[in-house]
């Protein structure tokens, strides 16, 4: 039994079974997986990549058949049926197994030796693709980027089908798919192919933590016009574009429309969004952690520039150790291993919520310098808890909604799912006209005129 304990289900409820089309989809996907294993482990003289890529193709097709069939048989009210009876989506055996698999994969990816990876059958499967498209040999990072992008695209199709009744969700999902494919995969790979700095236009400092470090800046300066241009764009994105867009739209313009981490969370991670911790305790931990990371990266970056100015005179070895510590602890262990590996255990967006310094920066802007809020619709809230349950950032949305208060929270990424799952039309993402009525701290819930039009808080 899970930590949340008491379930009132005395028996495991029987969800409706699979029909034959769903079964065909699962069969095709499973055989595809087997074919991938055969390809990646089979003898090199037997054209293994044929088996591998046939397998990849079959897995995707099979999965899409299953997904299309599953969601076309449901209308919007059925989207979340039996999620908490699911072993995968409610921390059952399948959830734990998948979480451990993912975590172990990330540990191997970050800390397994390059020779282990680059001589592996798996990476060699990607040589034809990387050579064909970009003209260089695949390594583990190419494999990772490819798998990541395919995950966002395939699970993006799933999200679009699932949330097809909501234009906000459909357009937003298309946006993260576009930015992942173009800005976080194709463009950097083409740049690398053209021997230019491998630059990601959709990640900037402080999320791309070493982007504005002296070494990187030197690197860009030395890469000629294109490098200089990248440097200017990087600085503008962090210090000009981000505050302006966040003022008008809240942090969602980045976290839910552009960012690849958010993109993965809202596509591949969508089945796990309900697992985030909503307790007040978790919120306290979150605030300490995320702002500490922002402080760490900011101080570290300043230190590195002072150090560079002093030519390493004072902080030479210390700053080097600190950069290594940041890369290991935050860049790899937190953002990667825990951030994605723990999806099936702690919900999606663990990284975005507890660790991402970009999210912290955007959050401060959102809270103190933005028109964005989630508006509560008068007194219509029935405290059902759907909004809080499905908030991937662990915000207890209903605690505001049931008081008739608007929701202004630094952590809100504006995914809009609270509004989508609300059965009473209570929540709406809005860019308000003025700052003063944004939080609506003295809410009016309707009726109750005997005590004056006052709040329920």
């Amino acid at each position: 039994m899970s930590k949340e304990g008491f379930s009132i289900s005395l028996v495991n409820p029987h969800a409706p079974g699979l029909d034959w089309i769903q079964k065909i989809g699962i069969a095709v996907a499973s055989l595809g997986l087997l074919s991938m294993v055969v390809g990646a482990t089979g003898p090199a003289n037997q054209d293994p990549s044929f088996y591998f890529w046939t397998g990849v193709f079959a897995s995707i097709v099979g999965f899409l058949i299953y997904i299309v069939r599953t969601f076309s048989g449901k209308t919007e009210s059925g989207n979340n049926h039996h999620i908490f009876n699911s072993s995968l989506m409610a921390r059952g055996v399948a959830g734990w197994a998948f979480g451990i698999f993912l975590t172990a994969f990330y540990i191997l990816l970050y800390w397994g030796s390059d020779s282990f990876w680059n001589n592996s059958g798996l990476v060699s499967m990607f040589h034809p693709v990387s050579e064909g498209l970009f003209g260089f040999y695949a390594d583990k990072w190419f494999l990772y980027g490819f798998v990541y992008t395919i995950s966002v695209l395939v699970m993006g199709v799933r999200a679009i089908i699932k949330y097809r009744h909501s234009n906000y969700q459909v357009i937003r999902t298309c946006s993260v798919m576009f930015f992942q494919l173009g800005f976080a995969f194709l463009i950097p790979m083409f740049l690398k192919a053209m021997s230019q700095p491998e630059y990601y236009f959709s990640y900037f400092w402080p999320l791309d933590y070493d982007l504005l470090w002296p070494n990187s800046v030197d690197g860009m300066m030395n890469a000629g016009t294109i490098g200089l241009w990248m440097l200017i764009v990087s600085a503008l994105l962090t210090f000009v574009v981000t505050p302006i867009l966040t003022y008008f739209f809240g942090k969602r313009w980045y976290c839910s429309w552009v960012c690849g981490c958010g993109g993965l969370a809202n596509t591949a991670g969508d089945p796990f969004r309900q697992l985030s911790d909503k307790s007040l305790k978790a919120w306290k931990v979150e605030r300490w952690m995320i702002h500490s990371v922002l402080l760490f990266i900011t101080l570290l970056t300043i230190l590195l520039w002072v150090n560079s100015y002093l030519e390493g005179g004072i902080f030479g070895s210390v700053s080097h150790e600190l950069t290594k510590a940041y890369a290991f602890l935050i860049g790899q262990a937190f953002a990667g291993v825990i951030g994605v590996g723990f999806y099936p255990l702690l919900g999606t967006r663990i990284w975005c919520r507890f660790g991402c310094p970009m999210a912290a920066y955007l959050g401060l802007l959102q809270k103190y310098f933005s028109r964005f809020r989630i508006t509560t619709n008068g007194g219509q809230c029935i405290s059902c808890g759907n909004c809080s349950t499905y908030c991937e950032m662990g915000i207890d949305v209903k605690s505001y909604a049931q008081r008739g208060e608007n929701i202004v929270r630094a952590s809100c990424v504006g995914c809009g799912i609270c509004s989508t799952v609300c059965p009473r039309g209570v929540l709406n993402l809005e860019n308000g006209p003025t700052h003063t009525d944004r939080e609506n701290n003295n809410p009016i819930t309707f009726g109750n005129e005997g005590v004056g039009l006052r709040g329920f808080n």
Binding site: S9, G17, T75, Q380, S388, G425, G447, G450, V451
Partner: protein, 426 residues
């Protein structure tokens, strides 16, 4: 300052809990909340989501468990057997008794049963509380066919719950159209079609005659008034609710259908109040019912009684009526007065989204043109704006031309205002 009193609240639903919270906000009185149903307050309106696997019981608690101790609200799990107004005490089922200075009765409702033959068979039940949900979980294990009796809000929710498990569902509705005692014809028919699109066998103008059991005392079928037998292994009785007041009978408190209360929610017995579903107003406001068994009324009454008990005697005045529900995929919001049949002096405009899911009705006074009420299906309206329009007597043309101000749909949703405006100018 005022002396500290012991305030005992029977019932931990939205009415009782709102009262407790607001008394705490306003005072240092000792507060005890007694419930036989659950240790903690949960949102009753969402039992269906637990059954359908959208949430677990834990998620339906509006406050975390530490909240009660922190706010010094004592919780007691017990069933109140008797109220003794003379000694200012209540008797509990564990044999103990408790004294009160002020007693608030907020015991809610219980599902109606109209004495049908077979209504006590295994597999036959209503749906109101947590125990009903546990029973339903047990009773629907391994079944394939279910019948829901009644065409109201709980009936359609129960049909949705049962459909989520893939059961065949037949819905028996006495009226000629779903919920047509509340909804005008067009809206009611929209919902009829929507129910059927969810593969529920909706039988209108059909009354239950008898529930038939097998040799083990389990339901095996229902028979309708026309003599048709419908096989099933589960029967949901959702023909409305009544105030849950039976344990109060000998306390000398005036009871009609519910516990009779005055404007300040006081019963005829000093220091005893009643609110929420179990309370019946002696003098309801014009156009309002004496018992309004809805979430919102419970919430407003809770706040009202807290003011009164804490030294600011306050009349219950619920303002402009509003309510909401969801019928499978279709959200429903209503503001003001929309009667199933328009009155003599009333007229309305009706926009139909032609997708079987969206429609909007605005009722107005034929003479003054003042807007009286809204019914919205599949679109979201802004409470604040609709409330102000009705309150201030905005004219129908003013409302139509400013309809975008009331649009609460999410970004990028298909707008309806233009179509409504075009339709009304023709």
């Amino acid at each position: 300052m005022a002396t500290t009193k012991h305030i005992v609240i029977i019932g931990n639903g939205i009415a009782g809990i709102t009262a407790a919270r607001h008394i705490r906000k306003r005072s240092d009185h000792r507060i005890t909340v007694i419930s036989a149903e659950s240790d903690h307050f949960f949102s009753r309106t969402v039992l269906m989501y637990i059954y359908m696997g959208h949430m677990k019981y834990e998620h339906t608690k509006p406050y975390e468990d530490w909240f009660w101790e922190k706010n010094r609200i004592e919780l007691k799990r017990a069933y109140v057997q008797k109220v003794n107004p003379d000694s200012h005490s209540i008797e509990l089922d564990d044999g103990s008794s408790m004294n009160y200075d002020e007693l608030i009765i907020a015991t809610g409702s219980k599902p109606n049963k109209f004495g049908w033959k077979g209504q006590e068979l295994k597999g036959v039940q209503g749906l109101y509380g947590l125990q009903d949900l546990e029973l339903m979980e047990e009773s629907t294990k391994g079944i394939s066919k279910a019948v829901v009796v009644g065409g109201g809000l709980i009936g359609i929710e129960m049909a949705e719950m049962l459909r989520s498990r893939g059961f065949e569902v037949t819905m028996l509705v006495r009226e000629t159209s779903f919920w047509n005692t509340v909804l005008p014809k067009e809206e009611s028919e929209l919902i009829n079609r929507h129910i059927r699109s969810h593969k529920v066998d909706l039988r209108l103008a059909t009354e239950l005659d008898e529930i038939l059991g097998d040799e083990n005392g389990k339901v095996r079928a229902v028979r309708t008034r026309s003599g048709e037998e419908i096989p099933c292994q589960f029967v949901g009785l959702t023909v409305g609710v009544s105030p849950n007041v039976s344990f109060m009978k000998d306390a000398g408190i005036d009871i009609d259908k519910g516990i009779l209360v005055d404007g300040e929610l006081r019963t005829n017995v000093p220091n005893i109040y009643a609110l929420g579903d179990c309370a019946q107003l002696r003098n309801p406001k014009p156009n309002r019912k004496p018992i309004e068994a809805v979430w919102y009324a419970g919430k407003m009454m809770g706040e009202t009684v807290a003011a009164t008990i804490c030294g600011q005697p306050t009349d219950y005045d619920p303002g402009i009526w509003f309510n909401s529900a969801k019928f499978f995929d279709i959200e429903y919001q209503t503001y003001g007065t929309v009667l199933p049949e328009l009155k003599e002096n009333e007229d309305s405009i009706l926009w139909d989204g032609n997708d079987g899911k969206r429609c909007l009705r605005i009722v107005f006074d034929r003479n003054s043109k003042a807007v009286l009420g809204f019914n919205a299906f599949g679109i979201r309206l802004r409470h604040e704006v609709c409330d102000a329009w009705i309150r201030n007597g905005a004219t129908i043309s003013e409302v139509i031309s400013n309809l975008d101000k009331a649009n609460f749909d999410p970004e990028f949703f298909k707008k309806f205002e233009k179509e409504v405006q075009l339709q009304t100018t023709i």
